[in-house]
């Protein structure tokens, strides 16, 4: 069996942590695409029923505020992986 020195193991762990941080950041893309799509559909809805503008803005605000949290989760995990290990 191949035995690695502590330095090599440390480097492998650091590399894996940085790789994990990179993968975690992929989760930040999804909410952006989703929010953009929701905004497009909101424009369509306002064009169809201009009186519901206030209602649409409020619903979109709540939806976007909640949708964004998954992106921030990934950011927190990435920063912890980068700076802790």
């Amino acid at each position: 069996m191949v035995e690695f020195s502590p330095d090599v193991i440390d480097t492998i762990i650091r590399a894996a942590a940085l790789l994990g941080a990179g993968f975690a950041m992929i989760a930040g893309i999804g909410p952006g695409i989703g929010q953009g799509y929701a905004a497009g559909k909101a424009v369509e809805s306002v064009a169809r029923d201009p009186e519901a503008r206030g209602n649409i803005i409020t619903t979109m605000l709540l939806g976007q505020a909640v949708a964004e949290s998954t992106g921030i989760y990934s950011l927190v995990i990435a920063i912890v992986l980068i700076f802790t290990i």
């Binding site: 952006g32 905004a39 369509e44 979109m60 605000l61 505020a65 992106g71």
Partner: protein, 135 residues
């Protein structure tokens, strides 16, 4: 849901509710003397509130655009906000005077308030329906 027709009032209500919830950890950290936690929490809440206000402005602007333009506009703004969150969390991680977890909790507070509010509202509606059916 209350104020569903008025985005400004809804925004104020969300901020008010978040601040009321934030009083508990702020008072706890004040009493226990953990200044890093207190500062981190306040830092996170302030940034989160400002970003919520910014989002309302962006949504209002996007509704005057065409569908494709609104899509691109909101997507780009999201990535700018994401960069702001990144800088905030990075500063919280680097500075000793700010607690990282408290800052992250401050950033999440408004989101959890919204989720909690919606869940409570749904439960209230459900109980009201059941109560009316028993009458």
């Amino acid at each position: 849901m209350k104020y569903i027709d008025d985005p400004v009032k809804m925004q104020k209500e969300i901020i008010k509710k978040s601040y009321i919830i934030a009083v508990i950890p702020v008072v706890y950290s004040l009493i226990s003397g953990e200044s890093a936690t207190l500062l981190g929490l306040i830092f996170g809440i302030v940034i989160s509130t400002l970003i919520l206000r910014l989002r309302v402005i962006h949504i209002r602007r996007s509704l005057n655009m065409s569908e494709d333009k609104a899509n691109t506009f909101i997507r780009n703004r999201y990535f700018i906000e994401y960069a702001i969150y990144f800088v905030v969390l990075l500063v919280a991680r680097k500075k000793v005077s700010l607690n990282f977890i408290a800052t992250a909790a401050g950033l999440f507070l408004i989101k959890f308030t919204v989720i909690g509010w919606i869940i409570l509202d749904m439960l209230k509606e459900k109980w009201q329906k059941k109560f009316d059916s028993y009458k």
